[in-house]
């Protein structure tokens, strides 16, 4: 599985602020993958990733509250990048 596929899985299964997993299109969050890849390549921390995802939720998606899966998604993104 490629990095992009792993990241997409995590964004859909762990993050999913728009609650589309299992119902909507699998590419719903694909536009955010390049930015996440860049952060991971720069060895960001999980906290930095959380802040990045939270900013996307607030500024791009108008989500009023931080989604519950943000922390888990950030940790899994870091872990998946470490796998290589």
């Amino acid at each position: 599985m490629s990095n992009k596929d792993r990241i997409r899985d995590i964004l859909l299964n762990d993050w999913d602020p728009l609650v589309i997993n299992g119902y909507g299109p699998a590419d719903e969050y694909d536009r955010y993958i390049p930015g996440i890849v860049q952060l991971l390549a720069d060895r960001c921390t999980a906290e930095q990733l959380e802040q990045h995802l939270a900013r996307i939720e607030k500024e791009q998606m108008l989500v009023p509250k931080i989604s519950l899966g943000i922390s888990k998604a950030a940790k899994n993104l870091i872990a998946s990048w470490s796998i290589g």
Partner: protein, 218 residues
């Protein structure tokens, strides 16, 4: 109801029973078909002194199309539901049954008489009121159509509209005339029409959109 509309509704978790009620059809046949029961099977009338109420000849010997393949209602994906709706579509075209002979007397089922709808009955399109209170898990709970109109679009939604090539008219129509509206846990509203899904926040801002064809049956 057009079958692809039924597909869309079933994809989001609407049960066949709910779908039938929304169409003005008696959902009793669902249980009857599963029980292999044929209400038109002649039976000895109650109080006849013989085996009253029992079928006068053999068993019902009914194997509905929907259940002819591996197990009752366990066909591949949603195929068995599609077959069932097709079966009902065929029944709606049948003429009214002729009078049966009096002996043995045809016993009416205890529930409403089941038969083809009258000529006046029209195919109705589901509406939000048909699903009020239905729980679709994390997708939300059915509610009456809120008094909302599309206001602004989130950046995310703008990008999605561009990717799908969705028309504003289709999106506005989805919000104005949805098949179903679900209220989600964070107060957002999920609007479903034949053409699109529109997710609105309580202020009428579009959070995201996608086409009904993108709905994935689970």
């Amino acid at each position: 109801m057009r079958l692809f509309v039924a597909d869309v509704l079933l994809a989001v978790g609407v049960t066949p029973r709910t779908l039938m009620k929304a169409q003005g059809l008696d959902p009793a046949p669902l249980a009857l078909l599963k029980a292999n029961f044929n209400p038109a099977q002649p039976r000895w009338a109650a109080g006849s002194g013989r085996d009253s109420g029992r079928w006068s000849g053999g068993d019902a010997n009914v194997t509905p199309v929907a259940f002819r393949h591996r197990g009752h209602g366990r066909g591949r994906g949603f195929d068995w539901i599609r077959h069932f709706l097709e079966l009902f579509g065929e029944r709606r075209k049948e003429p009214a049954p002729e009078e049966k002979p009096r002996e043995p007397e045809v016993a009416k089922p205890e529930t409403e008489r089941i038969g083809p709808p009258s000529a006046e009955q029209r195919v109705s399109t589901p509406k939000p009121a048909d699903f009020v209170g239905e729980d679709f898990g994390k997708l939300g709970v059915g509610v009456e159509k809120p008094d909302l109109e599309i206001g602004e679009f989130s950046k995310h939604a703008i990008d999605r509209v561009g990717e799908y090539g969705a028309s504003l008219t289709d999106l506005q129509d989805t919000v104005a005339n949805p098949l179903m509206v679900l209220r989600q846990s964070d107060g957002r509203f999920f609007y479903l029409s034949e053409k699109a899904v529109v997710l609105l926040d309580p202020r009428g801002r579009v959070i995201t959109i996608y086409t009904s064809h993108n709905l994935i049956p689970k």
